[in-house]
Symmetry: C2
Subunit: 414 residues, 2 copies
């Protein structure tokens, strides 16, 4: 069979599996999830052996140490994967929830009921743990998955997917595409008859490719150019603490702070204070011209810095004249992910929250809380930068659709 | 400016307008809506004059009478358009609604708040009233719209859009693309920086084109191949009445019945009864081989008939052996729009509702209730055949997104 025929067949199989998955009770799904965790634990030796093949190929290809570390599985990481699956089994199942229900004057009773989406394609890069994480969240919500991982992790991915598949799930509930070339992405993205949704997990290049090819909905996880605005009524101590935590607590992730905006009225008092605290954490400060007057040893920021997700210990700092200017800057230069205002002025805070066009808008707390775990979702498939269907941290609920179920007793339209 | 430059500029303007629209109160929006209705009424002579140009061009091009009728505006239709706008002003505004709110152990307070989507592109064909209907629903929900109508109605569309624009809405809240060529669709569909959503309203060809070009989410309104399944425990009188109403009450629309499935156990008693009632309404019956044994004067159904949205007085009828076969047939051949079971058996009904993969699943009522008006939404932008974001009848709520607003008092991530 050609790549196209193979993937289309997987699509048909996924659809058939989805109909079976939709009929499983929460208890049945949770039992299978626990069996999946057990299978991952039991198969640890095979997973390690498969991973050794990927690591050897990666070294031969000259992958960086950072890339090899992403690729690497060890007993601790495999146990974490299994424990993650056990944890998903304990979460409430959103499927079947009545979201809304009402009666109409003619006596028909309408209910809006949560149902699985159906079939979901996951396209991802080098981390093999995504195979388990994504498949398990989709399974919990009654969706069939087709996984297409990167070539670097193919042996590990095959081993993980095969462990998951032996745990009693309906046949073809979790399928891994055995091809890692580009054509397989194109075929998957064009297969809107069999696939209801694609979630790309990886860098901007991967997402862009999927977006340009996909005929079905795509939920995108683009970058996080997150801002903190220290308003004129900010508690300076709090603003400094929040800026440092947001920037340095884990700099390489999408909810880390990249841009600090400071109200002109507090700049002289605040900038030296926050600069000292940031530099204690080895953060490089790049300032606008006005910032450089107050912090002469900061680097000048370039025009591109305002549109950059640094993902390292660099922060760009700009003085603004007003809350309105801060909001306008964020809406123009940000990535609509997570933005924070620090202020004691409740009116200013509400104005900020109500006018910044981002998935997460925060008052007086760290950007790092933009996270499914911190929100209490128990699990997270990602942080959507889209506005349709799912925005911001995506938990299990965002992996469901709904259906209108209407019950009548013979009503006709007159 | 080139077409591309013009449309990109409209995109930038729409984004700026969207930020202003998001700040309007419901009262302010409703006042503007009533002013739009008044402007439509006041401009009736200009609308009629513009429409005459479209009708003359349509006649010269040899458009069918049906097409010309879709295109035509008269005083009654213009008054209906204005009355529709007044009606939208009376509906509750979903923007600002707190969908969910909770506190976390660290004291941050999270709320999920409805906000406008932002900017919406509407691509439609010949009916000029879509210009007002779509723009007004988007305006009510705080979204800026870019409209791209068909060439047949261009004069009417320009006149309507210009009437709407003079009613006090923020500048560029409603913009009509002055080009009707194909390039303008391609430019719009590629403009994901400025446009958050595209809604194509029209035939399958238009939707397919938009789906293959669009980089942003598209909400699709594909066809309705709706089924009614008369179960073995159906009340035969009710099943016949519902089949006739679903098929004939308005045959040319997506929620009209196309396929009747009959349980083998009741076929002999039911088919002659329903055939008589359907034929009284001039419905042509096309049957499977088993149906033809009972209704020898029915036409034989072809294989394609099971996958056809007839939109006229034709129905395809098939005998099935079980509820499971009915469900499998619907899931394979239907368009996942609206499907009905008629039965007195509550268990069978719930099994059907829980296993048919359609936006609307009904028990004992007409398919014709799959409609925003019938659901009580007050207004409808269409009936989505998608599973993401909006499924089934789409009202004002489905024209919104949400945002997480988080309020803390200095919390950092440890």
């Amino acid at each position: 069979m050609s790549i196209q025929e193979t993937i289309h067949q997987m699509g048909r199989q996924a659809r058939a599996a989805a109909y079976k998955l939709a009929q499983l009770t929460s208890d049945e799904k949770n039992d299978i999830l626990r069996a999946m965790a057990a299978a991952i634990r039991r198969r640890t030796p095979e997973l390690l052996a498969a991973n050794v093949l990927d690591l050897a190929a990666g070294e031969a290809k000259g992958l960086s140490n950072a890339m090899l570390d992403r690729l690497k599985l060890d007993e601790k990481r495999i146990e974490a994967m299994a424990a993650g699956i056990d944890q998903v089994a304990t979460l409430p199942d959103p499927v079947g929830e009545i979201m809304d229900a009402w009666d109409r004057p003619n006596g028909i009773r309408i209910s809006q009921t949560r149902v699985p989406i159906g079939t979901i394609g996951i396209i991802y890069e080098s981390r093999p743990n995504v195979t388990a994480d994504a498949a398990v969240l989709c399974f919990k919500t009654g969706n069939a998955t087709i996984l297409r991982g990167g070539s670097e992790a193919i042996h590990s991915n095959v081993a993980i997917a095969s462990a998951l598949a032996e745990a009693g799930a309906p046949e073809h509930a979790i399928q891994l595409i055995p091809f890692t070339d580009r054509e397989s992405v194109a075929v998957l993205a064009g297969m809107d008859k069999w696939l209801d949704l694609i979630i790309p997990r990886g860098g901007k290049g991967l997402i862009e490719t999927v977006v340009s090819l996909a005929r079905m909905p795509v939920i995108k996880h683009y970058d996080g150019i997150c801002h903190l605005f220290a308003d004129k009524d900010a508690d300076l101590e709090m603003a400094s603490t929040l800026a440092v935590n947001s920037k340095t607590q884990k700099p390489g992730v999408c909810n880390a702070l990249e841009i600090l905006l400071v109200h002109r009225d507090i700049a002289t008092g605040f900038l030296p204070k926050v600069a000292t605290a940031l530099r204690e954490k080895n953060v490089e400060i790049r300032g606008c011209a006005n910032v450089l007057e107050i912090l002469p040893d900061a680097k000048p920021a370039t025009a591109e810095d305002w549109d950059t997700e640094f993902l390292e210990l660099i922060i760009a700092v700009k003085i603004v004249d007003s809350l309105e200017e801060a909001v306008a800057h964020i809406n123009e230069h940000g990535s609509h992910h997570t933005d924070v205002i620090v202020t004691r002025d409740e009116v200013a805070a509400e104005q900020f929250l109500g006018s910044v066009d981002s998935a997460c808008v925060f008052h007086n707390c760290s950007t790092r809380f933009a996270d499914g775990g911190e929100f209490g979702f128990g699990a997270e498939i990602g942080i959507s930068t889209d506005k349709l269907h799912a925005r911001g941290p995506m938990g299990l609920r965002e992996l469901t659709s709904y259906q209108y179920r209407v019950r009548g007793n013979g009503q006709v339209k007159g």
